[in-house]
């Protein structure tokens, strides 16, 4: 894999926005300091990752999960981050669930539309009955696919 410097840095736009929100009006940041802040951000990610990974490895898991990150924050002495992070995690989980429900609803709507279109054509009626029988199974498969995604 080619090494590109920008891969290790986070987008400047987001860093700049955070700096703006954190500092009062009138206070600016030197170019070098801005760069250093961006690098500090990357170092924080790596440090948190390493720490979280230790927890995952201890639990003999190969996949780093959110719980590992929370444990890492505690280890790094950023306990005051824990509550906001748990909230963020809840929001994320709900968002994921909502997305799944929306995409399932879309699938159902699509199938209903397909059914109504098939009613118009008599030749396809036999095929349509077969499709209807398969529907429940297809829905289940779709659920599993989403989870894997």
């Amino acid at each position: 894999m080619a090494e590109r410097p920008e891969d290790l840095n986070l987008p400047n736009a987001v860093i700049t926005r955070i700096i703006k929100e954190a500092l009062p009006d009138g206070v600016n940041v030197s170019k070098e300091a801005r760069r250093a802040i961006s690098q500090a951000a990357s170092v924080f990610v790596l440090y948190a990752t390493s720490c979280a990974n230790n927890f995952a490895m201890k639990a003999k898991r190969k996949t780093l999960n959110a719980g590992d990150v929370l444990s890492a924050m505690e280890e790094m002495e950023f306990e005051r981050f824990l509550e906001p992070l748990r909230e963020a995690l809840e929001v994320y989980k709900k968002g994921q669930k909502g997305k799944k429900e929306v995409s399932e609803q879309k699938r159902k709507d699509k199938e209903k539309k397909t059914d109504s279109e098939n009613d118009k054509s008599r030749e396809e009626e036999d095929e349509e009955e077969e499709r209807m029988d398969e529907e429940p199974e297809a829905e289940n498969e779709a659920e599993e696919e989403d989870v894997e995604n």
Partner: protein, 149 residues
């Protein structure tokens, strides 16, 4: 999603965060929620860091945050000590790219050994690391000990 407009621009792209995380050779798979949590933690961390640095800047009657202010703040706060090597490197070498991250392997060693590296060791390793990044041929042999960035 409604209710998140304020944070619209301060969320880091999950793909970029994941790329940084996977620079750590020991990291395997990463659950989808993790980069989201890390992004939030990073936002909080940067705000915390900037707020502290800003206090220092203002106490010196300056309108511009400099690397020197950053260094002083990082030195004075135990919570930010993991950034110490970064500012040392940034100040002495004056490098512009992500070379500060070449010190990352030292953090991993620290985590595992649970002791502070001696200054002489730090100096010894850093120049070698710089040579390694210039000379691509030796990267494979170095990768056992270091992450090639």
């Amino acid at each position: 999603m409604p209710g998140q407009k304020r944070r619209y621009n301060v969320r880091f792209p999950p793909s970029r965060i994941k790329k940084i995380m996977q620079k750590d050779a020991e990291v395997g798979r990463i659950a989808m929620a993790v980069p989201v949590i890390i992004s939030r933690a990073l936002e909080m961390f940067l705000k915390s860091l900037l707020t502290k640095i800003c206090l220092l800047t203002q106490s010196k009657n300056s309108g511009v945050v400099s690397v020197a202010h950053m260094k002083q703040c990082i030195e004075s706060e135990k919570l930010f000590h993991f950034l110490r090597d970064l500012v040392e490197q940034s100040l002495s070498a004056g490098q512009k790219d992500a070379r500060g991250l070449s010190l990352w392997p030292l953090y991993r060693t620290k985590m595992h050994e649970m002791q502070v590296q001696k200054p002489s060791e730090v100096v010894e390793k850093a120049p070698r690391r710089n040579l390694c990044s210039l000379d691509n041929d030796s990267s494979s042999s170095e990768s056992e000990l270091y992450i090639c960035l």
